[in-house]
Symmetry: C2
Subunit: 593 residues, 2 copies
Amino acid sequence: MYKAPVDEIAFTLKHVAGMGDALQSGALGDLGEDLVDAILSEAGRFATEEVAPLGDIGDKQGSRLVEGKVETPNGWRDLYHNWIAGGWNGLTAPEDFGGQNLPHMLHVAAMEMWNAGSMAFALGPTLTMGAVEALEKHGSDELKATYLPKMVSGEWTGTMNLTEPHAGSDLGVLKARAERRDDGTYRIFGQKIFITWGEHDFTDNIVHLVLARLPDAPAGTRGISLFLVPKFLVNADGSLGERNDLFCHSLEHKLGIHGSPTCTMIYGDGKFGAEKGAIGYLIGEENRGLACMFTMMNNARLAVGMQGVAIADAATQKAIAFAKERTQGKAPGWTGQGMSPIIEHPDVARMLLTMKALTQGSRAISYACAHAVDMGHAAEGEKAKFWQERSSLLTPIAKSFSTDAGVDVASMGIQVHGGMGFIEETGAARYLRDARIAPIYEGTNGIQAIDLVTRKLPLSDGGHVRGFIAELREIAAAVRASNRDGFGETAARLDAALDDLSAATEWLIAAVAGGKLAEALAGATAYQRLFGLALTGAYLAKGGLADVSDGKDDQRIALCRFTAENLLAETAALKDRVVNGADSLAVARAVLA
Amino acid sequence: MYKAPVDEIAFTLKHVAGMGDALQSGALGDLGEDLVDAILSEAGRFATEEVAPLGDIGDKQGSRLVEGKVETPNGWRDLYHNWIAGGWNGLTAPEDFGGQNLPHMLHVAAMEMWNAGSMAFALGPTLTMGAVEALEKHGSDELKATYLPKMVSGEWTGTMNLTEPHAGSDLGVLKARAERRDDGTYRIFGQKIFITWGEHDFTDNIVHLVLARLPDAPAGTRGISLFLVPKFLVNADGSLGERNDLFCHSLEHKLGIHGSPTCTMIYGDGKFGAEKGAIGYLIGEENRGLACMFTMMNNARLAVGMQGVAIADAATQKAIAFAKERTQGKAPGWTGQGMSPIIEHPDVARMLLTMKALTQGSRAISYACAHAVDMGHAAEGEKAKFWQERSSLLTPIAKSFSTDAGVDVASMGIQVHGGMGFIEETGAARYLRDARIAPIYEGTNGIQAIDLVTRKLPLSDGGHVRGFIAELREIAAAVRASNRDGFGETAARLDAALDDLSAATEWLIAAVAGGKLAEALAGATAYQRLFGLALTGAYLAKGGLADVSDGKDDQRIALCRFTAENLLAETAALKDRVVNGADSLAVARAVLA
């Protein structure tokens, strides 16, 4: 069973991702290390003791649509109410609306642990927090006063309604429509699919944020507006009023995250209410809905990245525990009685260490991204710009590298379990099934790569990414200067990886600037992975250098060396693909005709 | 829906894997190309028109245990009987027992197509064929006369009962026991798990081959005997007699291949028959059972490799079809109306071409392995030894590279489908769920790597593998000599990959010879993949060189170039891992403590 690695998480936050500096510099206000530790510890306890034990039943039962109502898995409603009772739903929300206004770093760390307990469960609150963020930034004071306190407390949940059958990655073509009414409200009509936690039995009300198009809206992405559409209308006194004209038509039958109801939502079908059309309230300006969504997109992407980290950690823990228990054959050098625990076999150890390295690497990248988000809020002027660029640059990498790691690590976890891994009762297969959505939703990893290459590399004319690589080179230099034998070839390997990263970066910056878009995009995914691998190497080295005398220093250095000497060499192939792969890809398209 | 790629399969058999030469040289007897084409065409038709349409229902319904009986999915019983009516079950079986004694190459090609239609369905006959092979090679004349004709026709099916809860990869510790009886029969007692198609409603009888231990047997693998244990005893006149004392206790709830019943079998529980103990008949000699199993192990491993090829092809076909239909966004250079088909996006094209390359590479490797099996039977003396060594060397690569490709390609297939890929109705997720068992069963891919490095590289003192690499170098030289621009950098890339293969091979041969087993095994999996990648490059090049003027020559060359310039660079990292990775892995084991 998953046990939240609170110490490892705290270490990564403080000594790798920048929280230590931020606490010292006062960038996080009066937040102190004691409070940080207490919050992490309690979030970890909740994940370990309350969420994780209900993960399997959520998978087995799933959420079911029964006579128009979604029934969640046994125990999940209580779990949710225990969770909001702990104040977790408002961790980063503004204090004005009952939130705690704590740094995003703490939030992602807590999200990691809850998602590791049950990704299907933790997904719901992630959506609510996204809705809170959009509403807080763009909603009218009246809307905020009516909805935010209850969404921050978790008394009501929130959803995001973007996708339609023909409009997924490309929202410009969505068809849901909104009609203006004289009273300043709107009537919403249309079908939305893949709506996470669109209907459930946790709370009395659900607040849907819905993208729709006004009759006179321009075509494409500049003609989309964002509306708040509650399941139940809210009376002036805050009590619940009439049922709004929307309902959950069906649930998807998915590969994983079975506990999370994925709804097809129908708006304005006339099923409820005297007049056809779901009553909606405009958020922000007309036709500016996509911009409203974008303000929360980065954090949502990072949140999905945390799901990758979470599954990777949970799958690794499970595989290590199994490999210590299960005996089979005799490993080279095994001198014990009878068969060896399979963890003694070099190939099994290789898988487990790779899993650990990818978990720790994606965790560090994601926390570093959250740190940049926090600093972007805390800092001012040029500093703020710097950190906003840093979080912009890191977001697609955190999302894609972590979610790919989630899938790869979960798949390796099955392999470590052998035949038992294929049996559902073992629980290893669930991790792969759950993890598999994360590289897809909230912008596919291919779209992250497009974003990275075409929008993030050009920040400050390429200056930001170049500066970042220079920072990473300092880590390699510090490893070299440390003269610690345990690092082995780390410095040289990291330098080589950063050379590859630098060369690929320059090639891509030039290609994008030169209008060679197809060529740049051909290698965008390879580049994204190259960046993630180089960062993994650098951050593991940074952790190894931290030297906190907690008895794990040697282990961190050993994992760093394993990563440098076993995983980093891949960067050369990835760089090669970026700078040399486009032509053959262009020619070979004929094969697909 | 899957459509068997008969032309591509025939091309690969004849022009890449060696069937053309074998047909010309008379090594395959009087088999002619017309018959080969006719068999492939009919096997493909059956897969496309009869198996594939029942694949989804098999997944959805699964096989269920109802009051002690296994009910297979709707339509599957008829499908099976149509399949055996076509004579497919005895394709490679000896003519003496009603088989057709056709080459193994044809068999693996047909297996690929049936598995692509439904891996869960095709898996059953694979087990029967394994049982036929073991019985034919090691059974007494009486046993053969009683059982083989009906197992060759498919009137009865066969199973292999090896695994027990504590004995998976390591069969030496199995506990099922056999007692001698005065009449020369045995009584079998024990529990076996993961028994594929151990019980079903296809046929009146099921012939179980069971590994068990005699009371006075030596410990370990030298004390295991093989028994034939029929579900129903067979009377002297061939009619079915009493029910034997064995039954299916339960079915596993698995990640995939739901249609295939995976049984826990109980022998000798006293549920059936007057006397406790399932009646069994010795196959081969007492305590030599594992040797009997090993004679069929290579072919079974190759058969599992075909499952990887099959899923990879089916998943690729599905993804390409989707990517042509689905429109989203505008790809660079897109000049059509509205959104582009997503196949126009470079990143999607990259995924699809990678899928195609891995499919074709693993297919070519597997067919080449089957060719070596055929030649090992057809040739004599030194030639026979050569081909037997070739099939021995290729088997672990064919099994592991193909099954890894199955998982990777199926996962990419989901990614190409975006959100739809996560919805079970789409069918893309099934491929990943089904494919995930193949790297595990019939010897995990890690065990294949141990076999490759410790038993196959040393063949003929390393001479065989060195000779093979020299053959592959000739392909690179021929590409260079061809002067065809379309190959791009193929010759140089292939040479580099073969340099890596050669260096890693020499390092491993020396390590194994020098007793550095832990060091050799640390990089065994990386080596196995390196070999598979290099072979993929070489075989795609061989196909490109074939120049058969079928209108696809340029496409084959283009896919070869894509592979060489986008995928082969990974071999350098893999070689590095083999020759440099062991030390850091050994040190980092402390992290797992």
